[in-house]
Chain length 434, copies 2
């Protein structure tokens, strides 16, 4: 059942509950005639959509000028203008995907705060009593994620990370760290918080000079370079994004770290060798649950019976499918796991969890900072790509903020060690000692 | 296949690998004749048992005076004296259960460090290449745990916690806290570390004066009283151990806390009402995985969309059956979960994990302190019970130390909040700020 069917069905259900009169004609086709309340069929369908979404405080405005608000009165946080009938029916058929598509195409525009719109929808969704029909679950299952085989992962990663280093440099800040920052205080600046995140990770791992570290999924190399520069360790960093590796290598050369940081353009599954520490910040989202035991095997082989590791990843409070529009347009093959899913990395190999920290609100802050920088660079982005791309990425950043502020998304840092290793910190004081 | 069959089978396997001569006669009955190496059949079977256990550095001494050491030479940490043939064959048939039984009966005695013996066995077991046959798994499954229904839980808890408050007061220290302490430094004293644990838990939960706390499984009431006394909160504490509740009530009266702490002799499943915080220290081990979603429902109902909670529990790096002797003699119905299992409490109810800390080495230290006090009180214990009881509880305490030092057991503190609650700490600095 799609949203249209759901809306129509619940409309006729409630009508027949209210009265014994024959139910109103089912709106299988577009009907121009106004209903008794003076509302068009389109308007009534939108009312039903709002109810289906849990009545978020939003106003829809149709191309006719007709405005629709939730049944339960609440000041709307924004108005969503729907430009034509195709956008409306797309929204009714598949709200998650088609909102993204029509927003990107400019056929749905938002008057007001986009983040507020998405937060309102996520919050209402959490409270709505909507039925998850078998058919709906079927549709979700059929939206199969693109599988992360070795070549599949290359395609998926290329799609997102090889868009162009110049593009990312417009809004990621100086560090080019494309993962959740750690804000010592909520007022900290982006670059400061990114450096603090790297130090937080390094402190947790208790890196000591002369140790060796392997990094799985190293982005543009900021953490690898930071570890070598500030903790005196030797780093081998793996990444399958060609653009990122090229950038990272040049950066390490410029910093004179050619001998202590090695960037390898290869898949984490091909990591070999022994290391004192394993670290991965923001790669797990691209691994896929089916590959977690394999990732655990790689970690186990890297560490043996000693050392320790840290995985930093977006996660969930409970297993849930990736947002289908994000999966389709932004992050093919991506999946944020729940902690029980994440444990499939560790449990088969007797890796012992030492410490888990959830810093989801820091990701909302990080994304706010990125979105601010992005909004200041949209002209450049439009020149590099086009207006549709500008809107698409705005929606992705705004939606991610809403995901973290509403608790739909989490950010877990998981510190672990081989189960037989007793060289583990006595308390966590060492992380916080200044 | 039990250990005897395994030993015999692997003996004949390796014999037929070594030589094409006919395999030696299978020792289905006790044979006194010495083997060519001058070793008795009993001695050879013990050698096989050592190999099966992964060749721990232990010496077995038979009632005949014959000593058996592992094939791979290593200085034994202790000698295990086996008093008779029944104890030997019991050990071969079911080493885990029968070692405990024969040690308790005094038919196996340990010359040397008991904790060292158990650590050696646990360590070797982790490295041994022993095969887990389908039959062996079957036997493990057939050892069904005693189910934690409402009356079942009462029986199980009565078995352990109603032994007598006087008995526990001999070795738990002043706080009567019967859970892992938190040692600010490894040198801290037991009572100091128990108080530090209570403060660590309270700090993590950010208790504020005037708030209400519900405690599930409150032991002799030390945490409930500590929270009311030091954090100005109102506490309702649940426990199904009659002896413990009586003790806790008297204690609260004596401290003049009658109006701020209420002890309820009832099951956690019967908790009702709304609270600012939910806390449970050392109860989860008795809940049973099948009841985790139910426990989560209780938590969710207590907190609604606000507040936070903490569960402190023994755990595992990966799911594993409870040690069968401990389950049989000490803790019927108990089971320490892995983190993935523990997540069955939280994930169905969108409870968000904020912080997990593993302090397993603190439990080894706590148990060392308990064992020291216990050893100083064995005469009293023997008067209260008998010598067999003294040995049984010594083995349980020593085995638990070994479990935590070898990483067979973990101690997790899990801090959580309802998924929609954004009133969560910005960083964990507040726990460590002095």
């Amino acid at each position: 059942m799609n949203a249209v069917e759901d809306c129509v069905a619940s409309e006729s259900d409630s009508a027949s509950e209210r009265t014994s009169a024959p139910p109103p004609p089912v709106a299988g086709v577009v009907v121009k005639a106004r209903e008794p309340e003076g509302r068009s069929v389109e308007g009534r369908l939108l009312s039903r959509l709002l109810a289906f979404l849990g009545d978020p405080p939003l106003e829809f405005v149709l191309w006719t000028g007709e405005a629709v608000r939730p049944a339960v009165a609440a000041d709307p946080v924004a108005s969503l203008h729907i430009a034509d009938r195709a956008a409306l029916f797309g929204l009714l058929a598949d709200p998650q995907v088609r909102f993204g598509e029509s927003y990107s195409d400019g056929r749905i525009t938002v008057e007001g705060d986009l983040v507020g719109v998405l937060e309102a929808v996520y919050k209402s969704g959490a409270n709505s009593k909507r039925r998850f029909s078998v058919l709906r679950r079927g549709v979700e299952l059929m939206r199969r994620r693109r599988i992360n085989t070795l070549p599949g992962s290359r395609d998926n990663i290329h799609h997102h990370y090889d868009i162009g280093n110049k593009f990312y440099s417009l809004w990621l800040g100086k560090t080019m760290a494309y993962t959740c920052a750690y804000y010592p205080t909520p007022e900290a600046a982006l670059d400061e918080a990114q450096v603090a995140k790297m130090d937080h990770v390094c402190r947790k791992m208790r890196l000591r000079p002369g140790e060796s570290v392997v990094e799985a999924g190293c982005g543009w190399g900021s953490l690898a370079i930071h570890m070598a520069q500030n903790y005196g360790v030797k780093v081998r960093a793996f990444n399958i994004s060609h653009e990122q590796v090229a950038f990272a290598r040049e950066r390490a050369q410029r910093e004179g770290l050619g001998s202590s940081v090695e960037f390898v353009e290869d898949d984490y599954r091909n990591i070999i060798g022994k290391y004192d520490a394993f670290v991965s910040v923001g790669m797990l989202e691209h691994v896929g649950v089916e590959n977690y035991p394999g990732l655990g095997r790689v970690i186990q082989q890297c560490l043996g019976n000693v050392g320790r590791g840290l995985i930093h990843s977006i996660g969930r409070n409970r297993p849930a499918a990736m947002h289908p529009w994000i999966e389709k347009r932004i992050f093919p093959g991506a999946y944020p796991p729940s902690l029980s899913e994440m444990m499939q990395i560790f449990e088969p190999w007797n890796l012992s969890i030492l410490d888990v920290e959830n810093i989801r609100l820091h990701y909302a802050r990080t994304l706010r900072h990125w979105l601010e920088l992005y909004e200041g660079a949209t002209e450049r982005v439009a020149e590099m790509f086009d207006e549709k791309f500008v809107r698409m990425w705005r929606l992705y950043l705004a939606g991610s903020i809403a995901g973290f502020t509403t608790g739909t998304l989490q950010l877990f840092q998981v510190l672990f060690a081989p189960g037989v290793n007793n060289d583990v910190p006595w308390t966590r004081d060492y992380i916080y000692a200044r």
